[in-house]
Amino acid sequence: MKYLDEYRDAKIAHGLAAEIRRRSTKPWVLMEICGGQTHTLVRYGIDDLLGNSVELVHGPGCPVCVTPLEMIDRAIALARRPEVTLLSYGDMLRVPGSGSDLFHAKAEGGEVRVVYSPTDAVQLARTRPDRKVVFFAIGFETTAPAHAMAVLQAAKLGLKNFSLLVSHVLVPPAIRVLLASPKNRVEGFIAPGHVCTVVGCQEYQELVKEFHVPIVVGGFEPVDLLEAINMLVAQLEEGRVGMENQYTRSVQYQGNQPAREAVARVFEISDRKWRGIGSIPLSGLRLKQEFAAFDAERIFDLAEVRAEEPSECISAEVLLGHKKPTDCPAFGARCSPEKPLGAPMVSTEGACAAYYQYRRHVAAV
């Protein structure tokens, strides 16, 4: 493949791909959960390289993609308040809500800023006591410890002008929804390496037991992903079902204990709505009552917002791995990163954006 040949470990990657093709007796359907992994797979043409030995479907692990429209609308409403400075990660600013996006709120005079870390937001609140600083805290388990520490730091500093607009989701409940669906075709999962760096592997071990499906925790490089796929195919061909860890250089079985403790101290598990998927019980985090003073949804009077997705967008099917981005009639035509119909085309980790960026739309026409 032309993309993979640019990679410095191309020889090892080609060797692994040959091993997978040799080993596989049927096109096993495997899902990578994390959008960062989707990006690598498509960028390096790994799915093409494996031919029909494996079918890769892309999972819901793009935090920007699954943040519900209502939360984006709430963030925009906050950004329009004259006393509020709204901060978040870069990707979040480009995602359309039901009527606008945060960049437009900024152009209309709202104080909206991109920050690298939630600690930058705490710092800003400290130096600007005249502003109500709200950090739009989105993400999976990887980002939660950073948000927890920001709250602990703000509490320690006695800040009264710092809060989080929390839209936190958890990976395992989404995998359960996928596996319980009658439409599920996924026979093995690559679990997200950085999520597992934080939370460890135990929850994934439980999923393996509950659903009898192999799971391999994988890294983010082409060789990591090929190795994880090879481990999954080996299990499937040998009729084994287990939880294995490919990404041992970062992931320990028990995860990162101090990070998990910070999350447990600040957050509690709650129901969450996922964009494109709907409400999933106990699939996210919210701030504990003890930290209500840092919860933007409790501090500000945010009207209940109901929002509808554009009817043509098939992001739900894409996020659940039922369809590929190129199955969408709007893909590359009425939907592009410049004019997105849905979030997977906006975020750099969205499957539609990855397909678009690496020119799969050419093949689809």
Binding site: E6, Y7, R8, C34, G35, G36, H39, T40, R43, G61, C62, P63, V64, Y89, G90, D91, V114, V115, Y116, S117, P118, T119, D120, I138, G139, F140, T142, T143, P145, A146, M149, Q153, K156, L157, P192, H194, V195, T197, V198, F220, E221, R249, S250, V251, Q252, N256, P258, A259, A262, S347, T348, E349
Partner: protein
Amino acid sequence: MCLAIPGKVTQIEVKDGIRMGRVLFGGIARQACLDFVPEAKEGDYVMVHVGFAISVVDQDEAERTYALLESMGVLADELSPEEVVPPKA
């Protein structure tokens, strides 16, 4: 967003009760919180996600991953270069 970038810890100090490290990502230096990796010391390589080190990794692995992320063009998004920490004299 769930990417973590490997970098080298060059200096550690405690600020406001938080253990912070100056971490070098290629030519870019940033402050990262080291509270989740109490074992990390100066000279170690850590995986950093949104300003927090989440694991300590081997140097060779870290350098290889960094080179790959750089070639993929994802570092600008993750490290937001407009807020680069100026190197200390």
